[in-house]
Amino acid sequence: MPGPVRTNGMSSAAAAMQMLERKQQVLANNLANASTRGFKAETAFARLMDNQLAKTDTALDLTAGSLTETHNSLDLAVEGHGFFVTQTPNGERFVRNGSFRLDAERQLVDERGNPVLGEEGPFVLPAGTVEIGNDGTVKVNGRVLQRLRLERVADGAQLLHEGGTQFVPDASRQAIPPAERTVRQGFVEESNVNTMSAMTDMLAVLHRYGAAQKALSTIDAARGTSVNDLAKPV
């Protein structure tokens, strides 16, 4: 293990300021997405590693957003853990935003036009009344087509955020057994951003940023004294 890095106060204060700037960027992105369906907030926190300087870490906050009823038969929401799986040009992606629709070939696609995957692949829906059960079984006019794929990741697994409320699954992904699923038809999941706590976090960032700057200026003043005043002839 490398030994602890010796740090001086000035670089510590500068690192703290950089960390807080990053945190403010994360908060601004969360607030900008306060009304993005299926959005999951990022949390930013400082991490002190081996007595080195403070660094920013981000983590995905996977708590559920509130559900809004839309009465649209192709709007789906997952209650509890779990993601829908879509096929994108970059591979399979996870989404919580279940505002699905049909494309020109009557294929079930997400908001970005990527096919939503069932256990046997993408769906083509015939005309008729669409009914989607708790376990994600898709029926049209009472005839079962196939079941939607619903997957989850292990606790503590880190998902990567991609734009368009998509997440890159990690190696711990696994299908959710049908008995443990709760898919709600006619509902969508809202953003899980808590604007109140983001507001207080932002105030805290601002005040700590000011404090770190004061620390930096104070150390600078002390150095100024030792450089300029100590050597002065009496």
Partner: protein, 262 residues
């Protein structure tokens, strides 16, 4: 420019668009057959500041990737096709659809448009037309000596002619259904046009399988609920405000940083 400033600015623009859509909904609170819309947003691409890293030699101490997002953008506007309330007008040419379905309207350019607004009139040619004067498809011709026009829940239009006791059937109103009515495009004047997203129309008679039934003497009101829109408007205003606070905070941080050297 500070990425926090830019992200917050995209948030303000998103809330402004949301307010524009709410304003249009509220303006159409008394428009028959109007369906409210809702804005959809999505987050922009993320910048991966630092990839996943292994810290210790034993590979047990790893850090997750650090990602910072860059804001939001409008991804779509969705029309919500829930049933509007049926308002009784007792006018025999007012027809509401209760359930799924749209009337077919012939546009002057020959194309067919679709509407839920069933406030029909009789044209100078004796045809059943919309309030804008576009003919209902298939056309229904009403003779000059017609009285007591009645439209059944299954769409059969009948009248009593002259001194007849038995009513005469004039025709039957056909309605259509779409796989994804939210994908229809608004043309204004309460008219909708099919798109690739809505799918092709499925023609049928009212009250047939999956189709709604007709109700004469009623109009379907707008499905805009003032209270819901007001709540949305308050939420949009607060979200706008809080994004402006994010801009202010980022700006003040910039000022503090500028004060390091005086």
């Amino acid at each position: 420019m500070d990425p926090a400033l830019r992200a917050a600015a995209t948030g303000m623009m998103a809330q402004q668009t949301r307010t524009e859509i709410i304003a249009n909904n509220l303006a159409n609170v008394n428009t028959p057959g109007f369906k409210r819309s809702r804005a959809h947003f999505e987050d922009l691409l993320y910048q991966t500041v630092q990839d996943q890293a292994i810290l210790g030699q034993d590979a047990t101490n790893t850090t997750a990737a650090i990602q910072v997002g860059r804001g939001t953008r409008l991804s779509g506007v969705q029309r919500m096709h829930e049933q509007g309330p049926l308002e009784q007008t007792n006018r025999n040419l007012d027809v509401a659809i209760e359930g799924d379905g749209f009337f077919q309207i012939q546009l002057p350019n020959g194309e067919t448009a679709y509407t839920r607004d069933g406030s029909f009139q009789i044209s100078d040619q004796g045809q059943l037309v919309t309030s804008a004067g576009y003919g209902l498809q298939p056309p229904i011709q009403i003779p000059i000596d017609a009285a007591e026009l009645s439209i059944s829940s299954t769409g059969i239009v009948s009248v009593r002619r002259g001194n007849d006791i038995e009513p005469t059937e004039l025709g039957r109103i056909e309605i259509v259904r779409f796989a994804n009515p939210s994908g229809l495009m608004s043309l204004g004047q309460n008219l909708l046009a099919p798109t690739a997203a809505s799918g092709q129309p499925v023609v049928g008679f009212p009250n047939d399988e999956g189709m709604g039934h007709l109700q004469q003497g009623s109009l379907e009101g707008s499905n805009v609920e003032i209270v819901t829109e007001m709540v949305e408007m308050i939420a949009a205003m607060r979200a706008y405000e809080i994004n402006s606070k994010a801009i202010k905070t980022a700006d003040e941080m910039g000022q503090i940083a500028n004060n390091i050297t005086r």
